[in-house]
């Protein structure tokens, strides 16, 4: 599904990612962990198409297509979704209108019919329940005046509606209390399917108690320094990140 080959990325001439290799197959859940400043969020942003980064080397294939050649909206329409670490507020635009516009853009791209407001509401009701979203949230302006937890839930709700092929969760757990974390994790788990993959970026192991990954990769100083299964996350929880930085071995192929 996703194949990242030797990806080098800089921002303002400063190298941030220095040769990332990562392959994600359909249905897999990969987690990327790492200390602050290791490049986790940069990787998410580059996958989503943020233009403020320069890709200096490497290649990203998404279902065989050259992802780096695609505009951010085309990546989204092809099935890449990113849950933002800091969801953005849009004043005066209702959540419902925003999401329906997004869904219709995606549907149009796939050659499906657009949905009207009534059908849309019927469609999203179930998903709102899943994420314990209050009815009023959908009529309020996008993220405006939402609490931190509401914003993150809203991200996962959008993901549930847009039904992406690859979902990237960028520190979705940050700022969530344990109850909100469980709701978010339930939402994600309900969407796990054989043809849908996840890339879960997190600083803490805590989220991975609820969203159990198939693979865990540790990112340090712009490289994946080690990879393993979910036990690696537990090991990190115990030992911290420092032991990895002292002995940055060759990057394993996954």
């Amino acid at each position: 599904m996703l194949e990242i080959r030797n990806l080098h990325v800089s921002a303002a001439n400063k190298p941030i990612l220095r040769g990332i290799n990562l392959t994600i197959h359909p249905g897999e859940v990969h987690s990327i962990m790492g200390p602050n400043g290791s490049g986790k969020s940069t990787l998410a942003q580059v996958l989503a198409g943020r233009e403020s980064y320069d890709v200096t080397d490497g290649q990203i294939l998404f279902n065989g297509q050259d992802l780096l050649e695609m505009a951010p909206e085309d990546r989204a329409r092809e099935g890449i979704f990113m849950a933002f670490q800091y969801p953005v507020e849009i004043r005066g635009v209702s959540n419902m209108y925003f999401l329906r516009t997004a869904l219709n853009a995606v549907r149009k791209h796939r050659g499906d019919e657009e949905v009207d407001a009534m059908d849309f509401l019927t469609m999203v009701r179930e998903k709102m329940k899943l994420l314990k979203m209050d009815d009023t949230l959908i009529n309020r302006a996008v993220n405006e005046g939402f609490s931190g937890g509401e914003k993150k839930r809203n991200e996962i709700f959008q993901m549930a509606v847009l039904e992406p092929k690859l979902a990237i969760l960028d520190e979705t757990d940050s700022g969530l209390d344990i109850d909100a974390l469980k709701i978010v994790a339930n939402g994600v788990n309900a969407m796990r399917e054989t043809d849908r993959s996840f890339l879960v970026i997190t600083h803490y192991q805590r989220l991975l108690d609820y969203i159990v990954p198939d693979f865990v990769h540790v990112l340090s100083d712009g490289r994946i320094v080690t990879s393993g299964d979910k036990t690696l996350a537990l090991e990190l929880e115990e030992k911290g990140y420092s032991w990895l930085e002292i002995e940055p071995g060759d990057q394993p192929n996954v």
Binding site: G49, S52, A71, E73, F81, V88, I90, A102
Partner: protein, 481 residues
């Protein structure tokens, strides 16, 4: 892959699509202004003596005035002797029905999306079309006349309803009001006139489309709307002009009078040519608009969507004379390229329990400079007056500017005033967020701006709200760079 910035840039620089010129033979007076020119205009329009006297009085007063320079805009001195003060399509002199209107002019309006054939019109909208200095067509006049509503070109009103004109002309904006209003009083050539009699609710939207076509001319139209006791009317004006390198002056005056329990809703979609990227050309839109809530419980609402003109200087205002009268001002002003706008309102509270609402949304893109200037004045006798003002600015890009000059004068301690203001920047973050959900950068900018303007758009009649939204998204194409 086109970057977000490039896409936004393309959006903002989209060309003005109403910039065509219609080649019709024109009857013009020589450039320049003096008493003979005014007499000539008056003669061409077969005006009664009182009009000529009124014009001459205005002209003589104008000579004593100086151009106001207090607005937050800059422009080179205007040579008032280089302007042509009267231009009319030649074939247009004696038109009795639409069939006789020059097909080229009909075609010009068709290109603007304003069909003048009644059967093609938007249901429920009567249109007066003003081409340069004269009104070329007014639709649905007969149907309105059945209700006693007069809707006609101003020059026709002068001839057919001189008593009404005499009574109300200059009653809200006196001849001596300001430099541009005074100039207009001397040389105005046409415009729309509307009178809605007692107790009549005008069943359709009335609308005037102003078009400047000829080169070097100024457009000086005069609009007068009177809603008699208990009457209601909703009126909309739209404006476009060809693209030219020179600046053209548009100095209009609009007067509204609402008697007891009457209501006037006045909406403007102003899309004069804004000039090119370097600021060459474009219309100077120096307009005086004022409404008088003369009677008790009367209400006047101004809604404006200002996207065009090189410079806009305009403060649609309300004089709240009648007790319990209400004044409203809802505005969206967009400046991009090198456009400058200094716009806002004046709410003058005189009667008891008078209320006013001001909602202003300024959007600046490119090198645009956008100023809100507003005066809320509560006079001594205005017991329990209330005002709510909300003034929001949005910046797109980092080379534009937003400015706010609110003035508040209160002479009565029972007044309640609220003032809210905000400034926000449309961010790449917002655009990227939309794109990541599958929405194009273009649609994202338009969605974000529409959200910002929502409170104003909901005040427009529905068909026009859609038009205004489209116009805004077209105008914004390419705004960030």
């Amino acid at each position: 892959m086109a970057t977000e910035t490039e896409q936004i840039h393309e959006l903002a620089n989209q060309e003005y699509k109403y910039g065509f010129y219609t080649d019709v033979e024109a009857d013009e007076v020589p450039a320049g202004l003096n008493e003979d020119v005014i007499r000539l205009i008056s003669t061409k329009k077969n005006e009664p003596e009182f009009m000529l006297e009124w014009r001459l009085k205005a002209y003589r007063h104008w000579l004593t005035l100086e151009e106001p320079r207090w607005a937050n805009v800059t422009f080179p001195p205007i040579d008032y002797q280089a302007i042509v003060y009267y231009s009319a399509p030649k074939s247009q002199s004696k038109v009795k029905s639409l069939d006789e209107v020059d097909p080229q002019i009909l075609d010009a309006y068709r290109k603007l999306g304003i069909p003048l054939q009644e059967q093609e019109l938007l249901a429920g909208v009567a249109v007066d079309a003003v081409f340069d200095s004269v009104s070329v067509a007014t639709t649905f006049q007969a149907k309105l006349a059945e209700l006693g509503i007069i809707f006609c070109p101003f020059s026709e009103a002068v001839l057919k309803h001189p008593d009404l004109v005499k009574k109300y002309l200059g009653s809200v904006v006196p001849v001596s009001d300001n430099f541009y209003a005074c100039l207009n009083s001397a040389v105005f050539t046409d415009g729309s006139f509307c009178y809605v009699p007692k107790g009549v609710r005008c069943p359709m939207e009335l609308s005037t489309y102003f078009r400047i076509n000829a080169a070097k001319t100024g457009q000086f139209e005069r609009t007068l709307i009177i809603a008699d006791e208990g009457a209601y009317v909703s009126y909309l004006e739209g404006c476009t002009a060809p693209m030219r390198d020179e600046n053209q002056l548009h100095a209009a005056v609009v007067e509204l009078v609402a008697h007891d329990n009457a209501q006037i809703k006045y909406s403007t979609i102003q899309n004069w040519y804004p000039g090119d990227d370097e600021g060459r050309g474009g219309i100077y839109n120096f307009v005086t608009k004022r409404g008088k809530c003369a009677g008790v419980n009367s209400k006047i609402s101004w809604t404006q969507v200002e996207t065009g003109s090189a410079i806009t200087w305009k403060y649609p205002s309300c004089i709240l004379l009648g007790d319990n009268s209400i004044g409203e001002f809802y505005s969206v002003a967009l400046t991009r390229k090198r456009q400058q706008a200094d716009t806002g309102t004046k709410m003058i509270h005189i009667g008891k329990n008078t209320r006013s609402t001001v909602v202003s949304k300024g959007i600046s893109a490119g090198f645009g400079q956008n100023t809100y200037r507003g005066l809320i004045k509560i006079l001594g006798g205005a017991e329990n007056a209330r005002n709510y003002t909300q003034c929001d600015s949005m910046l797109i890009g980092d080379k534009c500017g937003a400015h706010t000059f609110p003035y508040i004068e209160i002479k009565n301690s029972t007044a309640q005033m609220e003032h809210e203001a905000s400034t926000s920047k449309i961010g790449e973050d917002q655009i990227f967020y939309c794109q990541q959900r599958g929405i194009s950068a273009e649609d994202a900018v338009s969605m974000i701006v529409s959200g910002f303007c929502k409170e104003v758009f909901k005040e427009l009649p529905m068909e026009f709200a859609v038009e205004a939204q489209k116009l805004l998204s077209i105008s914004l194409e390419g705004s960030v760079g």
